[in-house]
Symmetry: C2
Subunit: 107 residues, 2 copies
Amino acid sequence: MVIKNIQLEIEQAAQGFAAIGSEARLAVLISLVKAGESGRTVGEIQERTGMPASTLAHHLRFLTSADLIVQEKSGRVVINHANFNHLEALAAYILKECCSDVPTKRK
Amino acid sequence: MVIKNIQLEIEQAAQGFAAIGSEARLAVLISLVKAGESGRTVGEIQERTGMPASTLAHHLRFLTSADLIVQEKSGRVVINHANFNHLEALAAYILKECCSDVPTKRK
DNA sequence: TAAAACTACATAACTAGAATTATGGTTATA
DNA sequence: TATAACCATAATTCTAGTTATGTAGTTTTA
């Protein structure tokens, strides 16, 4: 798996975190992360999470617009993939600038 | 700096992400991450972010209840510290279970 | 039939002004 | 010189208007 380095702006990062800031959506995303590259159809996610289709569609839209997942249409089904590049960037964002304002001690 | 390994439940993780899922709060948190261990007073954060005191107080409360920051009272000022242990755990959470459902190829 | 779009509504969140509380420093007074 | 009174500052709480979100039923599209 190739991980591309993405540079996030604070708006994008906040949007990304907001997207996984609800238990329902976080559960959906984690399910897709577990599934790896091959992803899962909307139906498969619905089976696993048990949420109503319309609710799930709404959350998938939310996750898609935050660029956390990518949807791919294949015939009649839609396959959802975790966007690993973006997720990596998001995870890194939190502590990226750790301590940059701490004055370094003079020796 | 010692990093403790924290195991997060999905509710806690979602709450944590929700806490940094607003640009205002993410900006506050990043400011505290930059400041490192020594933290920053409410006033210092206000100077940097320019947001009204009442709004800032509200967001700090939110961040505190999600355990992302820790507040320490010192005389008249309240010093805010990023909770690095929790932030590490949150960052790790996103991809922790990556690909666990992918069937491994037989050799 | 699978999935998305549309719709509706109750609930929660964001923002910020005004009032309040808490602390520390300064000045006045006995 | 105590100490009471007062003022300044830091931060929080109260309150309210506005906006966003969560959920899910219904309808549409491919």
